[in-house]
Amino acid sequence: MEPAGNLILLVEDDDGMRAALARVLSVAGFDVRHFASAEAFQTSVGTVPPPHAVCLVLDLRLPGISGLELMHWMKTKSFRLPVVMVTAFDNAAAHEQARQAGAASCLLKPFAGQALLAAVRGAIEAGARAGAP
């Protein structure tokens, strides 16, 4: 049912939110690697997407390196992975920035688990169509 890869990377600083998102994704059948900060992501993952990684769920606002900054960093490193941005700020400018930076979609918290799954599947399909590795 899912494409060849099945691994979702998740960067979210809020403990409760991270636990909940990881749970929804894993109940839906994905493998999940989660990180509390962009720095932890960079250190652990490095500059090449792990095999089987299909999508990055990224919080826009993070302490230290922000979600947008991480996306720019990924661009400079040619780290290609569809991104679903999540944010608790109802800020049109932030959403626009997320899209411009190349996020497949941007979800406003609080969102339902189903909305996350739909966004992630959409991003994966779009990524596959665009010929992402």
Partner: protein
């Protein structure tokens, strides 16, 4: 850095009124005694009541009127003072609302985190049930997390309410370290959101002053929010706020709030605490004037200046609360009812290092 701390101004109206009244009462007493004596002497003499008695009795009448007038004036003055106090409390409250209002976006963000987690957890639970297996323990974990997040959301509401609620002034022993920690807790979301680092350097012992917790929180919050704004347009540097408490001498406690913004133009320094003086586009210019009012009503003083390195620094000096009142730390319990870290007792999924996946359960 040199910080000019203006001396507090203190009204002395009631003392003057008491002096006037005493003077009138003494003069009146002497006159009454004279008149009564001359009248009694004249009556005992059997002669006619002298004209001077009539004059003196008229004077006594006037004196009595004057006394009544002064008493009334004193009462009106007291009523006016009470009214002014009420207006002042209203003004402080309005200003507190405005300061907290500046953090609304962050508070909404902070409350949306647990709400989002609850929604996702509820969906996950539903998917587990629909999966047909009996998820037992896993479901229990989800429920426990939902409960934690609901408590977290209500904690934020409680915290916000305690910051903006109307409360009568309650004077007691207040640990300034605790005030600073409360303010940090309250601002943590805004600080993260705006990318501002808040460094605390708190005196090792409790630094206890006599005063009102909410008012003192208001002052520190106001200064910290100002500092956050002041650093909003620095380029290429980490935005920083430093709050420091230190017991300077046995009976003097100092609290400083500094930032690494552009500082205060020297010309503005003397007028900074004047009402309606503002450098903010949307400021009303009352924050610092109210902060000074609060600090001075606590017997303290506040001053502002620039650090050698450039940013602004606000220095508050308070008299320490007398030690005699059996200084027990429990009296200085956090007002917000939440200590740092109290909420992070969640069973986290395995960390990326411990195990690279959360395990497929579909």
């Amino acid at each position: 850095m040199s910080i000019d701390i203006p001396s507090p101004t203190r009204p002395a109206g009631s003392a003057v009124a008491a002096g006037e009244l005493r003077f009138v009462l003494v003069c009146g007493g002497v006159l009454v005694a004279t008149a009564v004596l001359s009248h009694v002497l004249a009556v005992a003499d059997g002669s006619r009541v002298p004209w001077i008695s009539a004059v003196v009795f008229s004077v006594i009448g006037l004196q009595a009127l004057l006394i009544v007038g002064l008493l009334l004036q004193r009462r009106w003055r007291r009523e006016a003072e009470l009214e002014a106090q009420t207006y002042r409390a209203e003004l402080y409250h309005a200003m507190r609302l405005a300061t907290v209002g500046e953090l609304t976006a962050s508070i909404a963000h902070e409350i949306n985190q647990p709400l989002g987690a609850i929604l996702s957890n509820a969906d996950a639970a539903e998917m587990m049930l629909e999966g047909g297996q009996s998820p037992g323990n896993e479901l229990r974990e989800v429920i426990a997390d939902i409960r934690l997040d609901a408590q977290r959301a209500s904690g934020i509401v409680r915290q916000t309410r305690s910051m903006i609620g109307k409360r009568p002034v309650a004077t007691g022993r207040v640990d300034l370290n605790q005030i600073v920690l409360d303010v940090r807790r309250f601002m943590s979301s805004a600080l993260t959101h705006q990318g501002v680092a808040l460094d605390l350097q708190l005196d090792a012992g409790p630094v206890v002053v006599t005063g009102d917790t909410v008012q003192l929180q208001q002052v520190v919050l106001n200064l910290a929010v100002n500092a956050m704004d002041a650093t909003s347009d620095i380029a290429g540097l980490v935005r920083r706020i430093d709050i420091r408490t230190v017991r300077v001498t046995g009976d003097r406690i100092e609290l400083t709030v500094s930032d690494n913004g552009h500082g205060i133009p020297e010309a503005d320094v003397p007028r900074l605490f004047e009402p309606f003086f503002t450098t903010k586009a949307q400021g009303c210019g009352l924050g610092l004037s109210i902060a000074r009012g609060i600090v001075e009503s606590h017997g303290g003083r506040i001053g502002a200046g620039n650090q050698a390195s450039g940013g602004a620094v606000f220095r508050l000096v308070f008299p320490a609360a007398p030690e005699s009142m059996a200084a027990s730390d429990s009296e200085c319990a956090p007002l917000l009812g939440l200590s740092d870290g109290a909420l992070h007792q969640r069973a986290m999924p395995p960390s990326p290092k411990a195990s690279s996946t959360d395990g497929a359960r579909g």
